[in-house]
């Protein structure tokens, strides 16, 4: 048999840090980074005698994440301790929710292309639970020591556990991408892979085509980029297919992905799996939510991608363009801001999906901190639409704005790109062009209208900055007709 004779069965556990200002059980800053061990206190560093206090915002964010992923919210959730020894876990237990998680079943629709074909599917969510992140170990090989940084200890995380509904690496990648986008729109996570604010454990098994029973799965821990998720699954499909082809058995085990080698490696088998000895944390009261709390939180959920896409289509933006805009929350938010300054969605989308995207892809623009602002971009697009600048000059002006910011009117003025229509000058130029091109004029008069472009070009050349092409065209046509 070959790889294509097996169906991969994939489930994900997606961990995403929440964007709360403070940590989930103390008042320390939950922001990424910082000098080592400056964002920790007796509580999150697990000193004897300290106790956790729930950050209500973290609970609300987890609920918002649940709504964003179509989950049912549990009115009753219980904190459990997950006990294990590791130096980045100062209490030697992680506070999590095993038995009564905050969000129950949900569903996330995904759309992707396979062999040029557009496909849609719905991936079921088993549950979402809230938990605390662990610290980080810094290994100093030179001095042969490992040091702990507790800044990340206690940063709130949601773990989104899917059903084993995915059947290809593309589906898995698309799901993570989709969930990241939904969480961004819900305003609960920035989902920055590079800062570890979203990462996934991949569960994968193979079954022969036609089979109904899943095979034995391997779990690949802590895969931290979309690309790695894709490659991990690709690699595992090959690895497991080879084992099965030889008549072997896949071992239930935990593996890790080595991004440099593009391989997964065994960490531990089922036999030496941890017994986490979960039990309800006696330090924290269970969470009881009232209907009015849930209604308030649901109502506070911002506009989600689906609603935005529909709104844009309603504005007359083609579906494809609308989806491109919505697929990046920073871009979409930027577009919303430009709309407030210039209500011409189509031209704004053309400019954003064209010129701005192009420069983003070239790496010239960082949308998290652009040099330009929405109001000035809106002004620039409006100037181009009203032919105060030419289309080409608009791009040139934007190049400067992308680099240094600034007001497009001033840039156009300073660089002599502003078009101020002077009708007497237009007529003067038309007169002289007609006088100098008698042969072309006669050709036109005899019905060869193609030559109009040439005459138009001659006029434009001399009229740069003094008239819009529209005015030149009108005046030239008028003049030629009168001859």
């Amino acid at each position: 048999m070959s790889v294509s004779d097996y169906i991969p069965v994939i489930g994900l556990e997606i961990h995403s840090e929440l964007l709360t200002k403070s940590k989930v059980f103390c008042t320390c800053s939950a922001e990424f980074g910082g000098e080592k061990n400056t964002r920790c206190c007796p509580v999150c560093s697990g000193l004897p005698g300290t106790l956790p206090i729930i950050n209500q915002t973290a609970v609300e964010y987890a609920i918002k994440a649940g709504y964003a992923l179509g989950c049912e919210i549990s009115k009753f959730s219980v904190w459990d301790r997950k006990n294990y020894f590791y130096p980045d876990l100062p209490k030697a237990y992680q506070i999590s929710e095993l038995y009564y998680p905050i969000c129950l079943e949900g569903a996330v629709p995904i759309e992707y292309e396979e062999n040029g074909e557009k496909k849609t599917k719905t991936i079921r969510i088993n549950h979402i639970h809230l938990e605390e992140d662990a610290g980080k170990l810094v290994h100093d090989d030179l001095n042969g020591v490992s040091l702990c940084d507790y800044n990340r200890c206690g940063v709130p995380l949601v773990e989104i556990v899917t059903e084993p509904d995915m059947r290809s690496p593309e589906e898995a990648r698309t799901l993570v991408e989709t969930i990241a986008l939904l969480l961004q729109y819900a305003g609960v996570s920035d989902c920055k892979m590079e800062e570890g604010s979203i990462r996934a454990d991949v569960n994968i098994s193979l079954m022969p085509k036609g089979a109904t029973e899943f095979g034995t799965r391997a779990e690949i821990k802590n895969v931290n980029s979309l690309k790695s998720i894709y490659r991990t699954i690709e690699y595992e499909i090959k690895r497991q297919a080879q084992i099965l082809d030889r008549g072997g058995k896949v071992i239930q085990e935990t593996r890790r992905f080595d991004a440099n080698k593009g391989e997964t490696k065994s960490m531990r088998t089922k036999e030496d799996a941890h017994d986490y000895k979960y039990f309800p944390d006696p330090d924290i009261l269970q969470v009881n939510l009232r209907d009015e709390d849930l209604e308030r939180i649901k109502a506070s959920l911002p506009e989600m991608p689906k609603e935005r896409t529909a709104k844009y289509i309603g504005m007359g933006i083609p579906e494809k363009e609308a989806k491109i805009i919505v697929s990046d929350k920073l871009i979409s938010d930027f577009f919303e801001d430009t709309l407030k300054a210039y209500n011409n969605p189509k031209s704004l989308v053309n400019f954003i999906n064209g010129e701005i995207m192009r420069r983003i892809n070239l790496g010239e623009i960082d949308m998290t901190a652009p040099a330009f602002d929405a109001v000035n971009v809106a002004k620039l697009v409006e100037m181009s639409d009203t032919e105060k600048v030419s289309k080409n000059d608009a791009k040139e002006i934007f190049r400067e704005m992308a680099e240094k910011g600034g007001n497009p009117e001033e840039i156009a003025k300073n660089r002599g790109m502003l078009i101020v229509t002077d009708t007497s000058k237009v007529l003067e130029v038309i007169e002289s062009v007609i006088a100098a091109n008698e042969k072309a004029v006669n050709q036109y008069k005899s019905g060869d209208v193609k030559v109009f472009g040439f005459l138009m070009g001659q006029c434009s050349k001399s009229l740069r900055g003094a008239a819009t092409p529209k005015v030149i065209k009108e005046e030239l046509e008028k003049k030629l007709a009168s001859l």
Binding site: P42, V43, S45, G46, L47, P48, G49, T50, L51, P52, I53, I54, R81, N83, F85, P87, P90, K91, A92, Y93, S146, C148, D275, K277, Y278, F279, D281, P282, D283, I284, L285
Partner: protein, 481 residues
């Protein structure tokens, strides 16, 4: 004057008969003179104490003295004190100096109380004899060959031997009440959630509660007034309004319904203890209280439930001690696991290890339902039985311990026998109830006997009032040390 109650000392301080510094010095002198034999203090902090006394004197002079202002107290060594060694009597924390104060310490400091030092206990509060302490195996002030009880043995012995005016202890399964009974003093375990546990080194989080050990029920009320109440740092503290716990001092016992649960007087309770507590109940009857016979069928399972729940929680609470960030670190080079195994093997004593093993076993996958799950079921049953009794009673009176203080070399090697001795006290923690132990007699050897007055949740005032009513008619004997 070191033998006086807080109420009596208050008068002397406010009338300027003595200064706060003189009072503090008197206790420090007595610690110097006596504690070599008693071994109650692990750490004495004379400079800090005298500085606090000076500060308290200012408040007294300005007429701003609160009830505890200038009162010298001892603190159990599992309550975190900023900048002062806090060991929980364990080698594991031989070098642990907390960078923060427990909430109760903040409250005592704000009230102007003077901390004399930190007193011994059973290691991590696990035990009933204070003989599992790595540092000071405290003796009983009535008889130095006997134990002071535990785990708050240092607190009770220091109060009993007049080495402080009062003390803080903690009670997980009787750890305030039983040593108070053994040392002939009064000890109060408040309702779970009445006092913040923030800064109390956890043993069993769902059962632990800080409370006072003092010379009278009224003194306990004054201390509870100071330490009780909502705390941002502890989510399990109640937001209920805190009453003045002295409100029922001097109350009339007429018409108060006292439950006598026969199961607490059954086999295993020493005859002299039984007689003493029953005669105390008679004196309540004489004061006009109504005595109601009750039963608690689940009491026979209480010890099993208590040791499963408390050990399970302890196994998790004590997992953080790896010797890496603070505490005892073994001198081994090797892997992370080599290091923590060695540090924990050296740092913990046998009793602590026994409970960690028991707790881990009870929580293990495959055993959880049979042990932890069943214990949680029993917890529910015990709570229901108490609720049933309190439908018809206001209070319950039981012996605090089945015996008087035993010899320092007894019971230590028989954990099962030692655990069984807790059967009078543990259900109160399981049911989150308030209870006070106060002396009700002395046996033929002159050793104190304690009775416990147990109340409904949040009804400390009545528990204190009833204990006070008895104390007013009881000739308390001091330890002759």
């Amino acid at each position: 004057m070191v033998e006086l109650t807080i109420t009596e000392l208050r008068k002397k301080l406010d009338s300027k008969e003595i200064s706060a510094a003189e009072l503090t010095q008197a206790y420090l002198d007595r610690i110097d003179a006596v504690d070599g034999k008693l071994e109650s203090y692990i750490t004495v902090t004379p400079e800090k104490a005298l500085a606090a006394a000076e500060k308290a004197q200012k408040s007294i002079d300005e007429g701003n003295a609160t009830p505890l202002c200038g009162i010298p107290m001892a603190i159990k060594d599992n309550i975190c004190t900023e900048g002062v060694l806090t060991t929980a009597s364990s080698r594991m924390l031989e070098n642990f100096i907390p960078p923060y104060n427990a909430t109760v310490m903040e409250k005592l400091d704000n009230a102007g109380a003077v901390t004399l030092g930190k007193v011994s206990m059973d290691e991590f509060a696990m035990g009933g004899s204070t003989q599992t302490s790595y540092f000071k195996k405290t003796k009983n002030p009535f008889d130095l060959s006997r134990v002071p009880g535990g785990s708050s043995g240092g607190s009770a012995a220091a109060v009993g031997a007049d080495l402080c005016a009062a003390a803080l202890g903690s009670d997980t399964g009787g750890s305030i009440r039983q040593p108070a009974a053994f040392c002939g003093v009064t000890g109060l375990k408040p309702t779970y959630g009445r006092v913040s546990r923030y800064g109390l080194i956890a043993f069993a989080s769902s059962l632990d509660q800080i409370g006072p050990v003092a010379r009278s029920a009224e003194d306990c009320a004054l201390i509870l007034n100071t330490i009780a109440g909502y705390d941002f740092h502890d989510g399990t503290v109640s937001k209920l309004p805190v009453p003045d716990f002295t409100e029922k001092i001097g109350m009339d016992m007429k018409g108060i319904k006292i439950g006598v649960v026969s199961d607490f007087f059954a086999e295993g309770v020493d005859d002299e203890v039984r007689q003493s507590v029953l005669s105390a109940i008679d004196s309540y009857k004489a004061m006009g209280a109504e005595i109601i016979e009750c039963s608690m069928p689940s009491l026979k399972y209480a010890i099993a439930a208590y040791y499963l729940i408390s050990s399970a929680e302890a196994s998790s609470n004590l997992a953080r001690y790896d010797g890496i960030k603070y505490g005892h670190r073994a001198d081994v080079a090797g892997s992370y696991s080599d290091l923590i195994v060695a540090s924990r093997s050296e740092g913990f004593g046998d009793e602590v290890k026994r409970r960690i093993l028991l707790g881990n076993y009870a929580l293990s996958s495959g055993y959880y339902d049979a042990y932890y799950g069943k214990a949680m079921g029993l917890k529910q049953k015990i709570r229901e039985e108490y609720a049933h009794i309190f439908e018809k009673c206001d209070l319950i009176i039981t012996p605090t311990a089945p015996t008087v203080a035993y010899g320092t070399n007894e019971n230590i090697d028989d954990p099962k026998k030692m655990y069984q001795a807790d059967f009078c006290t543990v259900t109160v923690n399981i049911a989150s109830l308030p209870a006070i132990s106060t002396p009700c007699g002395y046996n033929k050897d002159g050793m104190p006997i304690g009775m416990s007055v147990v109340g409904k949740m949040w009804d400390e005032s009545l528990v204190i009032g009833a204990a006070d009513a008895f104390e007013k008619n009881f000739a308390r004997q001091g330890a002759k040390l």
